[in-house]
């Protein structure tokens, strides 16, 4: 039966994360962007909310709460309301941990998951995106070739969060090039080692507070046992789609903040004797921004709900993610427009959102619910 009402537990999660975002993350958004880093005490506090540890089963030393993609998207929308870089920073380890939990074999789960249940933030990462203009997850150029007990990885990765900071990461590579999404396998490997070069920090237009790197893989040899799911491999499209749910929710959260900010500004800013919001050219922009944020959220919720129900959700997740990415750019562009010249300067946050927003078109695989 159709319902748009959050469960009591979801309400609690939402409220908890929302107040953390408002009290701790949002006030340092600009500072984080300027300093190109997120304060570690904030990361520790965010980790302390137990979002990831909570969803790891007790047998792997977590709290074993029910895992729900829907609850996940509700929570990280709130994080991104506070700041996108911080949200990505905090949730990057989940991309690895939840991939292992969902697709790993028993040994992999036992070996890897307990590390993410501790009190201290545990950086970890996923390397999916590649530095080519027509990058597509269904046609990775990074390849993994089986050689006895090992796989040999070759290729390039970019937009890899926390590659220097992490001990371990997932590297996605094609084991059967040309086979689309089913060609891709995941390898859970140490972040450093022979055959891998981690670049200096990347310089991107946005998400500046999140350290990201390029990787170069040259005959990087990894044990065959590090292939996610072991000999049977893993369902890459499923992982990718769950990552897309997360990205869509992040886009919704950040855009929602931008709508609220623009709305408040347009009420208070006076031009020609009236608040600029009293003119339809501005008011209608605000209305459309709000409608599109809600539209993207509902698409995201529905896709996440399908995922939780065990239905096909891959197509829905892709539609939601692309929709949310477009929406975020539209909304943040208008955010700058509504503030005029004041939107263009760093004293106000809209230019930051504007830079962040375009990233959603490119981001893949960095986070997960």
């Amino acid at each position: 039966m159709i319902s748009f009402e959050l469960s009591d537990e979801q309400k609690l999660v939402k409220d908890t994360v929302a107040s953390f975002a408002a009290d701790q993350i949002e006030p340092i958004m600009r500072e984080s962007d300027d300093s190109e880093n997120v304060r570690q005490d904030i990361i520790s506090k965010g980790w302390g909310l137990g979002l990831l540890g909570g969803s790891i089963p007790e047998e792997y030393e977590g709290f074993g709460e029910e895992i729900s993609a829907l609850t996940g998207v509700i929570a990280i929308e709130e994080l991104a309301w506070g700041d996108l870089s911080t949200a990505l920073y905090l949730t990057a380890p989940a991309a690895l941990a939840l991939s292992v939990l969902d697709q790993g074999n028993e040994e992999q789960k036992k070996e890897i998951l307990p590390a993410f249940t501790g009190e201290e933030y545990r950086p970890a990462s996923c390397a999916l995106v590649e530095p080519y203009f027509n990058f597509c997850p269904s046609a990775l150029k990074a390849v993994a070739v089986r050689d006895g007990d090992e796989y040999v990885l070759n290729g390039k990765k970019c937009l890899v969060p926390l590659a220097q900071e992490s001990e371990s990461m997932i590297i996605f590579a094609a084991t059967q090039p040309g086979m689309g999404f089913s060609s891709v396998d995941a390898f859970v490997v140490p972040a450093a080692g022979q055959g891998v070069t981690v670049s200096e920090r990347e310089r991107n237009m946005g998400i500046k507070a999140l350290p990201t790197y390029q990787l170069e893989l040259k005959d990087r040899r990894v044990p065959a046992a590090s292939r996610l799911g072991g000999e049977s491999g893993s369902d890459f499209l499923r992982l990718l789609s769950r990552s897309r749910l997360a990205l869509a929710a992040l886009a919704v959260g950040m855009s929602r903040r931008c709508v609220e900010y623009s709305r408040d500004y347009s009420i208070q800013r006076v031009a020609f004797g009236d608040p600029i919001a009293s003119r339809q050219a501005i008011a209608f922009m605000v209305a459309e921004m709000a409608i599109e944020v809600d539209a993207a959220r509902l698409l995201t919720w529905e896709a996440a709900w399908r995922c939780d129900k065990g239905m096909d959700f891959e197509k829905d997740a892709a539609l939601a993610k692309n929709y949310a990415a477009e929406m975020a750019m539209m909304v943040c562009d208008r955010g700058v427009q509504i503030m005029g010249g004041h939107g263009y300067i760093n004293e106000n946050p809209v230019e930051l959102w504007f830079r962040n927003a375009r990233g959603f078109a490119t981001f893949e695989g960095m986070v997960m619910v």
Partner: protein, 416 residues
């Protein structure tokens, strides 16, 4: 309760049934009643009256509308409005023109539901459950008062036990069906005192056959041609005093209560117009996808935007837009069913659905090329039909205006 996107078994059952009806009874005759604009599908209308008892295009569950903050009377979850939305979508998937011509209380009935006294409801609504098709209509719009409903000039003057109406209304949906072809009525908005502004505007029920009322014009239209859209002239038209809808507070010239109440019917009807739009949009998208599949054109969902063909981009945007519009619409209806104030969400849904579906149908015709433009298929008709959803029940701009005022906390004076 928790978030759930699955229709209840009951609604699913209805949906399937209506879909079959739409496919077998509406699609085959859709073209005929587009080409012959003023012809009515008499057999179909009789059949609809029999089967649906006039409930289908009517005032779905408006009786369940609650005041802000008021708890729903029963804790039991209702889904009357949602069921109405789903039904409407399926019928309009079949054909919008035919669907709009269906008998039933219509917008006039919705106004009676929203602001009539129990006696008035009994008196005016009972007729819709009979054997013969009956229509209700609503006449707000005038030549000088469209979006600007407060500018109504039709006057009502009390004379003994009667009100005397004078003026002219335009664009009355099913006006001829209600007043000439059946024992129906029209709810006419007229002002008791122009100086009183909105507070002076009141809804009057005018019965078929009332002397002094005349259908003066039947419009030829771009689309939804099976639905009659008429002008009505009122020349010293006398209606009983009891036909002014509502209790004494409504009659009070100093209060806008009556105006507001009738306006509040929009909270229930706007999402239904959104559902109408979505029905037409999904008809177009279904046809487009079927054609592409037959031609072996694959849509590669999930690939990066930078690798999509223009066609893939369009189809995916159509998919997402349609689904987003539907979810926004369901949310507005669900809120109504649960006694929550939904004026903001109703306008959001209609704004989105109206613009999304006009775009979707236009794009579908473009993509289908000469096949899309040809009258051999119904697609070109759907493009013409769908445009109305961005116009009646408040244009797209009016929906944005309502949405913006609510978001900004601005009054009508602060945001014109």
């Amino acid at each position: 309760m928790m978030i759930d996107f699955e229709l209840s078994p009951r609604i699913k059952g209805t949906k399937n049934m209506i879909h079959m009806f739409a496919e077998s009874a509406l699609r085959p005759i859709a073209r005929e009643y587009d080409t012959n604009e003023h012809k009515k599908p008499q057999d179909l209308l009789k059949m609809v009256q029999k089967v649906m008892g006039g409930g289908i295009s009517g005032a779905f569950g408006t009786e369940e509308k609650k005041k802000e903050g008021e708890e729903p009377k029963e804790k039991k979850r209702r889904e009357t409005n949602l069921a109405g939305g789903v039904t409407v979508e399926e019928i309009f998937w079949g054909d919008a023109g035919l669907a709009l011509s269906f008998p039933g209380p219509g917008l006039g009935g919705a106004a009676v539901q929203a602001s009539g006294t129990p006696e008035q409801k009994e008196k005016f609504l009972a007729r819709f459950a009979g054997e013969e098709p009956v229509w209700g209509a609503m006449a707000i719009t005038e030549a000088e008062a469209g979006s600007d409903t407060a500018n109504i000039r039709t006057t009502a003057v009390l004379d003994g036990d009667e009100y005397i109406l004078n003026g002219e209304k335009i664009f009355v949906t099913s006006g001829k069906s209600a007043l000439v072809e059946s024992q129906g009525f029209v709810v006419v908005w007229a002002t008791l005192d122009r100086k009183a502004g909105r507070a002076g505007i009141k809804p009057f029920v005018v019965e078929h056959g009332t002397p002094g009322m005349e259908v003066t014009k039947i419009e030829d239209k771009l689309g939804i041609r099976c639905s009659d859209t008429v002008s009505l002239a009122f020349m010293d038209c006398r209606v009983p005093k009891e036909n002014l809808l509502g209790n004494p507070e409504v009659v009070d010239k100093s209060k806008t209560e009556g105006f507001k109440k009738v306006m509040a019917t929009f909270d229930a009807t706007r999402p239904l117009v959104a559902a109408m739009a979505i029905g037409v949009g999904s008809a177009a998208l279904d046809l487009l996808k079927k054609t592409l599949a037959e031609e072996g054109v694959e849509i590669r969902y999930g690939i990066s935007p930078c690798r999509m063909t223009a066609l893939e981009r369009d189809i995916m945007k159509m998919d997402a837009d349609l689904k987003a519009a539907r979810l926004l619409t369901w949310r507005a209806l669900w809120m109504l069913d649960n006694g929550q104030r939904n004026d903001l969400q109703s306008s959001m849904a209609k704004a989105k659905a109206g613009s999304a579906v006009t775009w979707i149908t236009q794009k579908a015709v473009e993509i289908m090329g000469p096949l899309g433009y040809s009258q051999d298929l119904l697609l070109e008709k759907w493009m013409r039909d769908s445009k109305i959803n961005d116009i009646f029940e408040g244009t797209g701009q009016i929906q944005l205006l309502v949405t913006a005022r609510r978001l900004l906390g601005f009054s009508r004076e602060q945001l014109k």
